[in-house]
Every structure is written in structure tokens, then in C-alpha cells.
Symmetry: C2
Subunit: 189 residues, 2 copies
């Protein structure tokens, strides 16, 4: 029984104890240590993960081995290789732990099942997906229109607590700027 | 009665004639001419739009008046300022017509109503939202990891028919590269 998951779902739909117990029975617990991988490149991905505690990064490595950070995930966030998960293709990203992590996960089959059986859960995931869409659109706008300085300021404003849990190298990879540029910027803030 | 909308919805869920008639009754038709605006910056946005025919662009103008293209929309795509629509804030983007356009639109209230009344429609929009999320994640990856040449090749591969309907200036603004760079790249293809 996960109070975190129930609280998270009930921000959008209210559930009876029985309803939540039934939904919860489709989730399993996974614990990983810092540096362990949740998903590696070129895998089948059959689960999405809800973060109870800890911090993860989703990354893409280009042919030269350069790492780009697509997404972070921390408490109350959902993470997976969503392209692999939804489109049934191999993962092109890796997801690994920046801290010890506790996750709940549900398979594609069970996600579709609880959405089919429970209109409330279908609604919950429709709303989560639309919020995710809006957040990604903001990130695209930020990548297109801002310079490194503005991007760093946006990031620290948007995720004040996350900044303190991440190394400068990792923040730089997320913002698509060099470690050196970030050091110059952050020393001025 | 829109055959296009019915066909589009039935790619994901099947509907009886009565079900479709009821859903369809919540949509209204809008026609706009090339260059007209569908949404202007700093407006309330209460509708999402399904494109029956034509081509639109969603743009963001920075403080210096430089235009960035966030999204195109053509036949069978949905468009709006999704942040303004879902979060009830003023639009920060503009949407205008690159061709004469025929659209069907539905209000936020009616979208929520048909999703509440019809589990099938809630499912349809959950699936559409997840596909949209995956497409945006691919665009972020492309913006982070590719150089202008690769980005242009990706674009022409992904949207072969769209390229022919767009000017070079507009494709360049979408890819975040200069008009001159694009001319050099496209003359080599």
C-alpha cells in the first residue's frame, strides 16, 4: 500500500479504499542503488515507473559517446523510455539512478487494463499526459529561444530543490551547454 | 457531420453512429484564410482545433521580434496553445494559417464533458496525448543532439509532404537554423 501513489492519484481523481486497493495491486515495488540502471539502451520496455523517493536521469548517448540528459525524475514523477513503452520499439535512452531510488511500476498490459476497467484512471492518465505534453512544449520553447544564461536561470527558478541535488556536470548536460559555461554562469548567481 | 473526424477517432476507438453523432454535436466548424490568425499572443484559449484541411504554424516571438516555430499542424492534427488551454493562462504563442484552413473545434468544457460521459473518448484523448508526448520528446532529443544538417534530413524524412508546402524561411525557423544554412543544406539534397 503506497500512500504516495494514492495521494498523487487523488490530486486528480478521488478513490474509495477498495478502488485504490485494486489499482495498487497492479503495481510492484523496485529498489535500486545510486549508479544502477533502471533501463539500458536497446531494451524492450514494458513498464512505467512512479518515483516514491530518489532521483533518476534519462539520457541519450550519441555515436561519439557524448551524453545528453532528456529528463530527470524525482518524487511523484513518472519515468520510462516512453517511446519504447508506448510504441513497442527498443529503448534509445538509458535511465539510471543519481541517488538510491524506490519506485512503483506497472506494466503496459496492466496500465491498459486498469484504464479500461476504471474510467477514473483513464481520466487520471489523460490529465497526466496532457500536463507532460505542456511541460515538454515549454522545454522545446526554452531550447529554441533562450541562451545558456537564460536557460540556467529558468532551470533554477523552475526546479529550485533539484539544482541542489545535481552536480554541475549533470545540469550542464541537461541544459545543452558546456560545464565551463555553466560554472561561469552559476558563479554569478 | 465530419467523416474526417470520425475516421480519425476510429483509428483508436470504434463508435456507433449514435455515439459519433453525439460527440460530433460538440464540435463547431471554423474556416480561415491564409495569413489569418487562429490564436494571438496574450489571449484566453478555450478551444482545441482539429485540422480538416490546410496548414498552420504555432509560433513564439521573443522580445526582439524574432519568430520561432514550435509546431506545424495539417490534416488530422490537433492544435492549440496547449499550455493556455489546459492551465487556464494567457497564450504565449500565436497560431496562424499558412494555407486556407478548415477546422473543427471543441471547448474545454465540452472536451471534459464528452470525456466524462464517454469512456471511449477519454481513452482516445489519453492515447492521443501520449503520442503527442512521445513526438515532443523526439523533437527535444533532435534539438539537443543533432547538427543543422542532421536536423534538416530528419525533418524531410519524417514529413516528406510537409516540406513541399513550406517555404525555406519557415522550415529554417522550425529547425532553429538560419535561412542561409538551410539553403546550403537543401541544395545538397
Amino acid at each position: 500500500m503506497s500512500l504516495e501513489l494514492r495521494k498523487h492519484i487523488e490530486e486528480i481523481v478521488s478513490l474509495t479504499d477498495e478502488e485504490f486497493e485494486y489499482i495498487n495491486s497492479h503495481f510492484k515495488l523496485k529498489q535500486l542503488k545510486k549508479h544502477q540502471y533502471l533501463i539500458q539502451e536497446d531494451e524492450q520496455v514494458n513498464n512505467i515507473y512512479f518515483v516514491i523517493s530518489g532521483l533518476l536521469k534519462a539520457t541519450f548517448n550519441d555515436l561519439n559517446g557524448k551524453e545528453y540528459i532528456i529528463q530527470f525524475a524525482t518524487e511523484n514523477w513518472w519515468i520510462s523510455d516512453f517511446q519504447a513503452f508506448y510504441n513497442n520499439v527498443k529503448s534509445i535512452t538509458s535511465i539510471s539512478c543519481l541517488e538510491n531510488v524506490e519506485l512503483l511500476y506497472i506494466s503496459k498490459e496492466d496500465l491498459d487494463k486498469i484504464c479500461r476497467e476504471s474510467h477514473k484512471m483513464e481520466h487520471f492518465f489523460r490529465v497526466k499526459n496532457s500536463s507532460g505534453y505542456v511541460a515538454l512544449q515549454q522545454r522545446i520553447l526554452s531550447l529554441l529561444t533562450t541562451n545558456p544564461k537564460e536557460r540556467f536561470e529558468q532551470f533554477t527558478r523552475q526546479y529550485p530543490h533539484l539544482g541542489q541535488r545535481l552536480s554541475k556536470t549533470i545540469i550542464a548536460a541537461y541544459l545543452g551547454i558546456s560545464r565551463e559555461s555553466l560554472s561561469r554562469l552559476s558563479s554569478k548567481v
